[in-house]
């Protein structure tokens, strides 16, 4: 464990010596890379939607999918606050009704075979 610590300290010193040689753009790239590396090691994913709402919205889609198939829906809790042929249509309707943070998603029919890439 102690040896690992010493190795990390030495590696860090070496990296710092190399960083000063980089041009400003490369330093900015490195800073961005390090920021994302640190962020991605975090466990928390804070959003404004509760677990209960996530569950309920998944259930809402299961129940109502055929009625809204091939359209976007905007859900606030389990209330439908917008729908449309495009994401922006559904989002706009929700926003106009006072729900700018509504969850917007596309609804497939249960019969659809959805493209999953190659």
């Amino acid at each position: 464990m102690y040896n690992l610590f010493v190795m990390q300290v030495e590696a860090l010193k070496q990296i710092k010596r190399q960083i000063v040689l980089l041009d400003p753009e490369s330093k900015r790239e490195l800073a961005d890379f390090l920021q994302h590396t640190v962020e991605d090691s975090s466990d928390a994913l804070p959003t404004h939607i509760s677990d209960a709402d996530r569950h309920a919205q998944t259930e809402w889609i299961k129940t109502n999918r055929e009625k809204y198939a091939h359209r976007y829906v905007a859900l606030e809790g389990t209330e439908l606050v917008g729908s449309g042929k495009t994401f922006s249509e559904a989002k706009q309707e929700a926003t106009e009704k006072g729900f700018p943070n509504a969850f917007v998603t596309y609804v497939f029919s249960e019969k659809d075979v959805v493209s999953g890439g190659l």
């Binding site: 920021q35 466990d43 928390a44 994913l45 996530r54 889609i61 299961k62 994401f87 998603t105 999953g116």
Partner: protein, 134 residues
């Protein structure tokens, strides 16, 4: 005439990997799991390994059933509303997990991710630029 775009964030990616691969985190409740996923404009949805959904405590077969088609065949999957994070940008997305645990696909597709971002790509240099769009 030039077309100028501005982005919130920049993400260099490893050109040595197969596909354009970025670290991706999905979260539900107090759990989160991080793994590499490929950006796939040919996929209509985001698809992640079943084991990733299970590690969030999701009962996979209780999700939104959907058949998924690929060049080599079709498979059953189940959708869940989760939090999705790529390059520090967090989204609320419906993503799908295959019923079959042996399907090791991890892809960021159109619905649930691509349609929520503005994306700039310079593959020659391994550079990805991203902003939240919606």
């Amino acid at each position: 005439m030039p077309y100028l775009l501005e982005f919130e964030t920049f993400l260099p990616y490893d050109q040595g990997l197969d596909g354009i691969t970025v670290q991706t985190t999905i979260g539900f409740s107090d759990s989160a799991v991080t793994f590499p996923a490929k950006i796939d404009t040919g996929s209509s949805v985001c698809i992640f390994e079943r084991s990733h959904g299970e590690s969030l405590g999701l009962e996979i077969e209780s999700g939104v059933f959907q058949r998924i088609g690929t060049a080599t065949g079709t498979f059953n999957s189940y959708g869940f509303h989760v939090a999705l994070k790529v390059a520090g940008l967090i989204f609320d997305s419906l993503v799908f997990f295959p019923e079959n645990e042996h399907i090791k696909k991890n892809i960021l597709g159109r619905h649930g991710w691509l349609e929520l971002v503005k994306l700039g790509l310079v593959d020659y240099e391994g550079k990805l630029y991203l902003s939240k769009h919606a």
